[in-house]
Symmetry: C2
Subunit: 117 residues, 2 copies
């Protein structure tokens, strides 16, 4: 479980971001993270196997949409809001608004409270 790679600002590409946001589960994950709060991996609820969830979080991370922090044996995920806003102004926000109106990724949620950060 070595520290994962995160692209820096200049390495974030539009097509990768778009591709990352073309899957309902990943859109759902971004929606859950949209309030800017950091979430524990284990808090995230999606109707897929954990290996699949791990895969999706990796795609988001590789695309530059999220940042993962490791603390002891568990991980915390956060949306890279500022970076994305700097790179592609308004993009994430616009997509999120669209996602809300259609409830894309609505089957993804967060288990509140367990032992809050």
């Amino acid at each position: 479980m070595r520290q994962a790679h995160h692209p820096e600002l200049g390495e974030i590409t539009l097509t990768k971001v778009m591709a990352a946001l073309s899957d309902p589960i990943r859109v759902g994950l971004v929606r859950v993270l949209a309030d800017g709060r950091e979430r524990g991996w284990g808090e995230l609820r999606a109707p897929v196997a954990k290996s699949t969830l791990s895969h999706h979080l990796r795609v988001l991370r590789d695309a530059g949409l999220t940042r993962t922090r490791q603390e002891g044996t568990r991980c915390y995920v956060v949306l890279r809001e500022k970076d994305l806003q700097a790179r592609f102004p308004g993009l994430v926000r616009t997509v999120l608004t669209a996602a809300e109106t259609d409830d894309v990724g609505g089957h993804v949620s967060v288990r509140e409270d367990p032992d809050a950060t």
Copy 2:
């Protein structure tokens, strides 16, 4: 070459639109069409075989991003601006802005003037 299918407003989904815009060539095509003018198929220049170009235009059409009109033996393509704006406000515009800053799809162009519409 029968008349192709176009999704109606309500059938346009966010994930399909995002997927359609996750390829540089397709982004380039949308950029070329961004001024709202209708373009002839043959005007479009992209560094791929014509069967591949046909494929990309089909993906855009199926996603609801463009509309194709047939006139005699040739086709004309136009961006479904209003529909997209109605469905996902600001989305296409935001993506286009991002695409411009990075020159995504810059290898796609339009042969001006041949015998303008």
